[in-house]
């Protein structure tokens, strides 16, 4: 019998994390990874056209990206589970894609109890029955290390980028991403990481003694995905701001110290966990306020229930610490120019406050 062709697996675009997904799919699971095309207006239009109107925007983006992944040759799609509406993305997008006539295998993690190791093994066996568990685990950990590096470098990049007159930051970050997207083993990952760290470290920054600092909090997908938030971190750093964002996969999942320990510091603001990322966002907003940041930006997609419910708490933090908060809601129609204007106004305001106080 002829050997079965490799499974062609894909997962929708999500910030820059697809490099790690590719690595894990190819090195740990022994499948071929189909990289979905970079998100564009077309992705969004495709997704919005076939989505229910009032669903949160990431659903539309993700659906569009799934369609583009199928067009690019994927035969299997993977979708994650989740604590908010994300947990239902899988089943609904599967149904919509089937109704459109696409044929593929859908692996929906919401069908499994992912808190149990046995279930995880079932998923892995389903993806590739011939997988060697030991090798799989080792390579999976490498993939997670890539995520850690990516988050660490991205944070450093946006913190310093605004003060780099040479353009070296952009070049180093671009090269780093290329290295991660093409990595085929641990050595490639380590080399790419070392290269970007030394490049970023060697560029002399033209930074004032008291730069303007903003903290970014918000909904898990839109806050990290540059296409979805209209490259807000680029725009802010272009204005010579120091951009700080805690929310990323590393901090929220890999290094998360648990609801309990994080909640201590905000217990006076909320008695309970208000939503999947609420505790972290409230905690970080207060952290930024206490560290004397000049402003906060709250980012979410239209009709994101948990983040709408966090907003009254942020308003109270804003009052208590006298820190301005800019609330941004993104839907499929949010315009680049409109955002730019609002950011400029916000910048002018926090810059003026810094001079006055």
């Amino acid at each position: 019998m002829a050997e079965r062709a490799l499974r062609k697996l894909s997962f929708p675009r999500y910030a820059e994390y697809n490099c790690a997904l590719k690595y894990i799919t190819e090195q740990a699971l022994g499948c071929k990874y189909v990289m979905p095309p970079v998100l564009t207006r077309r992705t969004m239009e495709l997704g919005a056209k076939h989505s229910p109107e009032f669903v949160c925007t990431p659903f539309k983006t993700v659906l569009g990206s799934m369609i583009e992944a199928l067009e690019a040759g994927a035969d299997t799609l993977l979708m994650t589970h989740g604590l908010c509406r994300l947990g239902y993305y899988g089943e609904l997008s599967d149904q919509i894609l089937r109704d459109l006539g696409y044929q593929f295998e859908f692996i929906n993690l919401a069908e499994y109890d992912m808190s149990r190791k046995k279930e995880l093994l079932r998923v892995i066996r389903r993806i590739n029955p011939k997988v060697n568990p030991a090798r799989c685990l080792a390579q999976f950990m490498e993939g997670l290390r890539m995520v850690e590096y990516l988050d660490e470098v991205t944070a450093e990049y946006y913190k310093g980028r605004g003060f780099d007159p040479t353009g070296g930051y952009d070049r180093a970050y671009r090269d780093f991403l290329t290295a991660m997207f093409t990595a085929r083993g641990r050595a490639d990952v380590e080399q790419g990481y070392r290269a970007v760290k030394s490049a970023l470290g060697s560029i002399p920054l033209d930074k004032p003694a008291q730069p303007l600092r903003v903290g970014i909090v918000g909904e898990f997908y839109t806050v990290m995905d540059a296409f979805s938030n209209l490259e807000i971190e680029q725009k802010l750093s272009d204005m010579r701001l120091e951009v700080h964002r805690w929310m990323n996969v590393t901090n929220q999942f890999l290094h998360y110290n648990g609801q309990r320990n994080m909640h201590i510091k905000i217990a006076d603001l909320c008695a309970y966990e208000m939503g999947p990322t609420a505790t972290a966002n409230i905690w970080y907003a207060r952290e930024c306020a206490e560290r004397g940041f000049d402003g906060l930006i709250h980012i979410k997609s239209a009709s994101c229930t948990p983040e709408i419910d966090v907003m009254p708490v942020l308003q109270n933090i804003s009052t208590d610490y006298k820190i301005p908060v800019l609330y941004l809601t993104y839907d499929a129609q949010t315009s680049d120019v409109g955002l730019q204007t609002r950011l400029e106004a916000f910048y002018d305001m926090i810059a003026m406050r810094k001079k006055v106080f």
């Binding site: 229910p52 109107e53 604590l83 149904q95 929906n108």
Partner: protein
């Protein structure tokens, strides 16, 4: 029965429609007086809309209006936190955030709030939550437990009676339309009730998808949507499967922009075939005239299809 001097306010919105018997009997058994906010009206909706973030759902706006109406009218206002009732039995995250949301919005009002926390994902069941609620009101644990059990029994009996009434309606002659909606929307006098009232006035028997045996509906709901994880949506899904053969049409009624409904109703329209379906979304701007026109044409379509027009 001894009487405590404390009064507890119950906002007549959201989970009130699901738990009103449980709450009122529980407090009554403990000798605690309750005040319930009045039926929703324009004033309440407007007050709530001012308090709420613009994008919040209609139901939350109504809820906040009711809370506002109770401020300074009682010692405590009850704002429960119901997060999860088991695996794949979550509530919308809004019910998880509600106590803190209200607390933050009303922190300068001087009003005190009372909460209880049902979160099976953190192994906190309803009875434990009510014992703590009793403790917060300085009721003896034994008494609180007895009050809870009496109240739970009353709640279940009340629900059973309502389900039986639906069964009777099912066997009546006439055009029957099933309304798939959350109880707090369909029973609210200012929004959902206009729909049922209109249907009755047009000679239609309205049935409710959520008034079915809950355990059975939860199981059946999984047939229609295996990964649907919202308790209230699963009950409605199960209710649709149970009643679809008995009715001439289904109205998917939701509040703008209800998170779970936005997705689940889309799935229902894609998977439930062979019965006329109307997707009706109510928001604070919806006039009754617009709703009535849509209902009228929906009824006409059903009658036309059945050759009765």
């Amino acid at each position: 029965m001894k009487h405590s001097a404390v009064t507890v306010g119950l906002p007549r919105a959201m989970l009130y429609y699901r738990y009103r018997i449980l709450w009122s009997v529980f407090f009554q058994e403990l000798g605690i007086r309750t005040v319930i906010s009045g039926p929703t009206d324009r004033e309440i909706l407007e007050q709530g809309s001012v308090l709420a973030i613009d994008e919040a759902c209609l139901s939350l706006k109504i809820y906040l209006g009711h809370v506002r109406a109770l401020v300074d009218k009682c010692d405590y206002i009850l704002i429960p936190r119901v997060a999860s009732l088991g695996r794949h039995r979550d509530m919308c995250t809004r019910f998880q955030a509600l106590p803190d949301l209200v607390d933050n919005l009303f922190r300068n009002s001087g009003q005190r709030f009372l909460s209880y926390n049902v979160d099976l994902s953190a192994k906190r069941d309803e009875e434990t939550a009510f014992l703590e609620l009793g403790r917060a009101l300085s009721a003896a644990p034994k008494e609180a437990r007895r009050a809870y059990r009496t109240a739970k029994k009353a709640e279940l009996a009340h629900h059973k009676a309502r389900v039986q009434k639906q069964e009777q309606l099912c066997h009546q002659e006439g055009l029957k339309i099933l309304i798939a909606a959350h109880s707090y929307l369909v029973e609210d006098p200012y929004v959902g009730r206009t729909v049922t009232d209109y249907l009755r006035s047009a000679g239609v028997i309205p049935l409710r998808a959520d008034l079915v045996d809950r355990d059975a509906a939860l199981k059946r709901g999984m047939e229609l949507s295996p990964t649907c994880k919202w308790e209230l949506s699963r009950e409605i899904l199960g209710g649709i499967l149970q009643r679809r053969r008995d009715v001439d049409g289904i109205i998917l009624l939701s509040a703008f922009p209800c998170g779970p409904d936005a997705m689940v109703n889309e799935l229902i329209t894609r998977r439930v075939k062979g019965v006329p379906m109307l997707n009706l979304v109510l928001d604070s701007q919806t006039g009754t005239a617009g709703v009535e026109t849509r209902l009228e044409s929906f009824i006409d379509i059903i009658r036309l299809k059945e050759g009765k027009l």
